[in-house]
């Protein structure tokens, strides 16, 4: 698969070959690991987890943490971005984890290049930015195929953009409208992604059982611990999302640009209050 071919098929709204996006994703992984209080659901018995797959792994933030924290696990990460995978492999080597963590270029909207019943745990986190809604059942069917009996599939997705400042909310609104136009939202009116309410149903329809879920809230208001981290994430994310929003033609380009700049400024205000919700849902193949 070449970078050119992946580019034409890619629905990711931010440039997946961008260095700035890669840095943003790595920090986002750290932020999410902390918010979710660990790498795996705390209820999970890890004694049976040896082979782990991270789908749409980006630069390998979650997978490398698993390899570091759990030296007896073997982790594989897959992603469509050639840059992310090259970097993930380089990081694995730098950290001396290349015998425990490997990364492969793979388009996860197509059949996954793994044998049946191979993994004990399959992790899918933040796929909302590139998955079209009709692609979910196909991907989860593939996840079921490659997960062993008794293995676990976990989905984790966010709902963001809730704040008390005008431009920040409006800009997120434009982003959601653009995602809806590109077929990536379950919301009938494009006001959000509406993926979190779907997660349990998607897993159940794929055949998962013993489905459990846990919600997390990330407070990135002024003065809160996560404020700086989310600011760094979104100041990059806002800029990189602008071409996608402008291309979707959901607002005049100059309006979108002004909202982008003002939204970033608003995050620095002392009055800024904002929450980011995360839902993790996991089930077993039985």
């Amino acid at each position: 698969m070449t970078a050119e071919s992946t580019k034409s098929e890619n629905t990711y709204p931010l440039d997946p070959e961008s260095e700035a996006e890669m840095g943003r994703l790595l920090d986002q992984d750290l932020l999410l690991n902390r918010t979710m209080e660990g790498l795996f659901p705390e209820q999970l018995d890890l004694s049976n987890v040896h082979r782990v797959l991270d789908i749409a792994c980006g630069p390998g933030g979650w997978a490398l943490e698993v390899a570091f924290e759990y030296p007896d696990m073997e982790v594989v990460g897959v992603d469509i971005s050639r840059l992310m995978i090259a970097y993930a492999n380089m990081r694995a080597k730098t950290q001396g984890l290349d015998d425990k963590a490997t990364f492969k270029i793979m388009d996860v909207t197509k059949p996954l290049d793994f044998p049946d019943s191979y993994f004990d745990f399959v992790n899918l986190r933040y796929l909302c930015l590139f998955m079209r809604k009709e692609a979910w059942p196909r991907l989860l069917a593939e996840c079921m195929r490659i997960t062993r009996l008794g293995g676990v599939i976990r989905l984790t997705e966010p709902e963001c953009g809730f704040a008390n400042t005008p431009a920040f909310e409006k800009y997120w609104g434009l982003f959601y409208q653009a995602l809806t136009k590109s077929g990536q939202s379950f919301s009938p009116n494009g006001q959000n992604i509406c993926l979190t309410p779907m997660l349990k149903r998607l897993l159940r329809d794929a055949g998962c059982q013993n489905i459990q879920r846990k919600a997390y809230v990330l407070d990135h208001s002024a003065g809160e611990e996560a404020n700086q981290s989310v600011y760094q994430d979104l100041r990059v994310g806002f800029v990189l999302a602008l071409p996608f929003i402008q291309k979707a033609n959901v607002a005049p380009p100059e309006v979108a640009k002004a909202l982008c700049e003002q939204g970033v400024q608003e995050m620095k205000s002392e009055e800024f209050c904002a929450l980011w919700f995360i839902l993790s849902v996991w089930g077993q193949k039985l």
């Binding site: 961008s18 260095e19 700035a20 840095g23 790595l26 920090d27 750290l30 932020l31 660990g38 705390e42 570091f68 924290e69 759990y70 030296p71 007896d72 090259a86 970097y87 380089m90 990081r91 080597k93 730098t94 950290q95 001396g96 002024a222 700086q228 981290s229 600011y231 760094q232 100041r235 990059v236 800029v239 400024q265 620095k268 205000s269 002392e270």
Partner: protein, 332 residues
């Protein structure tokens, strides 16, 4: 306190402090009773527990590893691994940085380039995550025809106990700091043990810092700032690591604009107050930026937030220098 002969004794000494005991229990996701049972020998930790324990007490790492080796020799060799940290920057990474330098949008250029370089520096300096922090500090633009009088920490990254995420930093560094000394002399500086005063060079030890190396970020004999590398270990800066730090400092040159570099004779750091004193000033930063913008707007001369921030930084630098000067006069 006597020298412990087993890792259990060492752990016992560490968890005598209730807060530390709770911190470790939380980090290891075990009950505090479990920690006590390890100390008494009533329970044996799993390999994963030992791994997390070593990670959670970086300042005792070497001693702990030596003692653990007596009871679990296999574990220690696995923990140390057979791979040595890479002490050269790979050509793949150089090419990545050059690509990013060409492609990053202007608004993200400085931050993203620093981020890429600092992230790699942390991973190469500290693959075992025993505690390293890397910080970029920039020369404060001089005002009123004066020289550069201080540096300001802009961005940092680390491994625990420091924060791992990219953090905006703000502390001013002056002649009292190793960074100030490095930019004033135009030469890299390092201290292998900050707990004892070994030289006449100035330094201010920060929390967890046992050794440090500082490199001026220089282009054509002009300086834009410094790269500061701190470690939780004494004697951390081997010749290979010192060379590696210089390589990262050389790469950071790409993050700065030509006008942000200053001739050596234009850099004369003055004394800055301690970080604790600065903190209360820095906490007012955003409030003051907003006030400056409102004032400018009322005067029908609106300014951008970036301009307002620059003004406030310069005001704060002046106030802090005055504060340190007054304190020195009083002390005399």
């Amino acid at each position: 306190m006597h020298n412990p002969e087993t890792w259990r004794e060492l752990l016992g000494q560490i968890i005598k402090e209730p807060l530390e005991k709770q911190r470790l229990a939380t980090a290891l996701k075990v009950n505090t009773v479990t920690l006590s049972r390890w100390v008494s020998g009533d329970a044996k930790p799993r390999q994963h527990n030992l791994h997390m324990l070593i990670k959670s007490i970086p300042t005792h790492r070497e001693q702990f590893m030596t003692l653990v080796a007596k009871e679990f020799p296999g574990f220690v060799s696995m923990e140390q691994g057979d791979s040595q940290p890479e002490q050269e920057i790979s050509s793949i990474f150089y090419s990545r940085v050059l690509r990013a330098n060409s492609n990053l949008p202007p608004v993200l250029h400085f931050w993203s380039l620093c981020d890429i370089i600092l992230r790699q520096a942390v991973e190469q300096f500290d693959p075992n995550r025993i505690g390293v922090a890397v910080i970029v500090a920039q020369c404060m633009p001089p005002s009123h025809g004066q020289p550069v009088r201080s540096l300001r920490e802009l961005v940092g990254r680390g491994t625990p106990p420091w924060n791992r995420e990219l953090q905006a930093k703000a502390t001013f560094l002056g002649a009292e700091s190793l960074a100030g000394y490095a930019v004033a002399t135009g030469r890299p500086q390092h201290e292998q043990n900050l707990t004892i005063k070994q030289s006449l060079r100035p330094f201010q030890q920060t929390q967890w810092e046992q050794s440090a190396a500082v490199y001026p970020i220089m282009h054509k004999e002009r300086t834009a700032g410094t790269l500061i590398i701190s470690s939780t270990q004494t004697d951390y800066f081997s010749p290979a690591r010192l060379k590696l730090g210089q390589d990262f400092a050389d790469l950071l040159v790409l993050a700065f604009k030509p006008e942000e570099f200053y001739d050596l004779e234009c850099i004369k750091p003055e004394i800055m107050p301690s970080e604790d004193v600065q903190r209360s000033y820095l906490a007012q930063f955003q409030q003051r930026v907003t006030a400056v913008m409102i004032r400018a707007s009322r005067q029908q001369q609106p300014i951008s937030s970036i301009e307002a921030e620059q003004l406030v930084w310069q005001e704060m630098e002046e106030e802090l220098l005055q504060l340190a000067y007054s304190a020195l006069q009083e002390a005399k």
